[in-house]
């Protein structure tokens, strides 16, 4: 009898809670794990994530919440694990008694159908690749991704002139920080153009002087993707980053080509050229990287077998005998589950 009344009370509470909800809370996320083997038996290639040599290692568990009530919405995204902590977040390793796990934390208000203001800590608007493994085709990341910003805290306004053109302007903190030590120091913008269905291009700019930097850093970035056919997709990311007063920077371009042989199997190739700008007496160094990945999908699960070859202008890697080498190559197998 007691059990019955508890059950009835729980059912009523559940019903009233369901009734009170305007739009359901969205919960989504992903988990990822990987194995990597570098053929020189050293963890050579220094791009983000997938760094452990000959080890079945963790990526992260990522949990995102989203709620929309009328014109207002919020997103909170937390990540746990190397990829989502010390490999992508400042202070994420807890070495300074400070362990953050936040990838996104912002609120937005749509004043009209065309104009939205967003404030908080957001995934960066710069670049093609993202931190979440579900957002990338290749498991290993590009040099452009690793060298660019990961997140930008700030406030931004987006205006859609039409379904084909929109503009975002915003004020931001230094790259990847929750609070800005030298004040809100960066200004950024994004022009989005969608000339035809399936083709979208983003022209991005972010400029400002970070705390402790020798000069003002400005990044100009073009990110575009075109779904050529049902099976073929092309993408391009080109960027230039320059810090004034001989503060260095980089220039690079990455081309992405993918072909879906079926809904379950596709192949994708990424070719990248990346140049580090020299400072002082140091000259530029560049690298060319080729990454071939397959995506095998079953429901929310994706297997990503991948081979990668990097070729540098100078000996920036090591070989089996730990001697300097211009080349590095690796194989990896990643498992990503999105929910």
């Amino acid at each position: 009898m007691k059990l019955k009344s508890i059950f009835t009370t729980a059912s009523l509470s559940f019903a009233s809670f369901s009734y009170a909800q305007e739009a359901p809370l969205q919960i989504s996320g992903s988990v990822d794990t990987y194995y990597k083997y570098d053929f020189s038996k050293q963890p050579n290639i220094g791009t983000s994530f997938g760094s452990d040599q000959n080890s079945i290692s963790l990526g992260m568990i990522d949990l995102a919440l989203k709620k929309t009530t009328g014109k207002a919405s919020f997103v909170g995204e937390l990540s746990f694990g190397p990829r989502g902590q010390y490999q992508s977040l400042i202070n994420g390793d807890g070495t300074d008694d400070n362990s953050f796990h936040i990838q996104n934390l912002y609120a937005a208000y749509a004043f009209t159908d065309k104009f939205t203001v967003t404030a908080g800590y957001m995934g960066t608007f710069i670049g093609y690749e993202v931190i979440s493994p579900t957002g990338n085709y290749n498991y290993s990341t590009s040099y452009l991704f690793t060298s660019g910003p990961f997140q930008n805290a700030g406030v931004k306004g987006s205006y859609a002139f039409s379904s084909k053109v929109s503009l975002m302007l915003g004020l931001f903190n230094d790259w990847n920080v929750y609070k800005d030590l030298n004040g809100v120091s960066h200004v950024g913008g994004q022009l989005t153009v969608s000339p035809v269905e399936g083709w979208t291009a983003y022209l991005n700019v972010l400029s400002g002087k970070s705390a402790g930097a020798v000069g003002t850093g400005t990044i100009l970035d073009l990110t575009t993707a075109y779904q050529v056919t049902e099976k073929v997709k092309l993408g391009l990311n080109a960027a230039d980053y320059t810090v004034t007063h001989d503060g260095g920077g980089y220039t690079g371009a990455a081309l992405y080509a993918q072909n879906a042989f079926s809904t379950a199997f596709s192949l994708g190739l990424r070719g990248e050229y990346f140049n580090w700008k020299g400072t002082g007496e140091d000259s530029d160094e560049h690298i060319t990287a080729l990454t071939l990945s397959a995506n095998v999908k079953s429901g929310g699960l994706t297997f990503i077998p991948e081979v990668r070859f990097d070729d540098g202008s100078t000996p920036m890697f090591v070989n089996k005998n730990l001697n300097p080498s211009k080349n590095a190559s690796q194989f990896s197998l990643a498992v990503v589950y999105a929910f």
Partner: protein, 226 residues
């Protein structure tokens, strides 16, 4: 010795009872099995529930088709009602185009994954809408369904992964068969919701009329006869 004989008889008797019970149990199980078989046969011979899955048209494409009788309404009145409905805020964003007295438009159905109180969009199904009008009746159908999966973007929002959808008729292969079957079911369900809203909107001539909010009862303290 006496006790041993009584024990032996008791054992034989109990064994007999057990054997009898076992026989009866086996019989009843056989009955149940044959009953289940009969039920299964009945179910198999029954027509498929159309609300669970969409039928195919003569081109081999999935279709949702319905004819609606509106006696007393002229063709022009029905066309006006449809135009009003699709211009209203609560209708799907579809711009109708007239072609050879047939009205067409493109729309999308959002497919959600739900569990308990939580839900998230897993993709969208794009479709072609056809509307045809006559005196006192109209018909409409949704077809050319294609699925576009969603993925979470860098800001945590679900967005289409591609601009070109996969036709729902396409065989997904073993790896994605279960997921695909769920999309088919969800499409059928969402098409029914679309149809119900359209018919309601056509009845009202405008957007769907939301039920009026229940008035809050007023409790007066001025009554002296308490």
């Amino acid at each position: 010795m006496k006790l041993a004989v009584i024990g032996l008889f008791s054992f034989i008797g109990m064994a007999g009872v057990f054997a009898q019970e076992l026989k009866e149990k086996q019989k009843s199980e056989q009955k149940e099995i044959s009953g289940l078989e009969n039920n299964r046969k009945e179910k198999l011979s029954a027509p498929m529930k159309t609300e669970e899955e969409l039928p195919l048209d003569d081109r081999g494409k999935y279709i949702y088709y319905e004819v609606v009788s509106r006696k007393g309404k002229t063709k022009e009145e029905l066309i006006k009602a449809a135009k009003r409905y699709f211009k209203s805020d609560s209708s799907p964003k579809i711009s109708l185009v007239e072609k050879d007295s047939l009205y067409t438009g493109k729309g999308k159905l959002i497919i959600n994954k739900s569990a308990f109180l939580l839900t998230r969009p897993s993709g969208e199904v794009r479709y072609q809408l056809y509307l045809d009008f006559k005196e006192g009746k109209y018909r409409f159908w949704l077809t050319d369904f294609s699925f576009i999966p969603y993925q979470r973007d860098r800001y945590g929002n679900f967005v289409p992964t591609t601009a070109i959808g996969i036709p729902l008729e396409q065989k997904p292969g073993k790896l994605n068969a279960v997921e695909w079957a769920s999309y088919l079911k969800a499409t059928a369900k969402e098409a029914q919701v679309f149809a119900a809203n359209l018919k309601q909107g056509m009845l009202a001539g405008t957007a769907i009329i939301q039920p009026a909010a229940k008035a809050i009862p007023v409790q007066s303290t001025k009554n002296q006869k308490w």
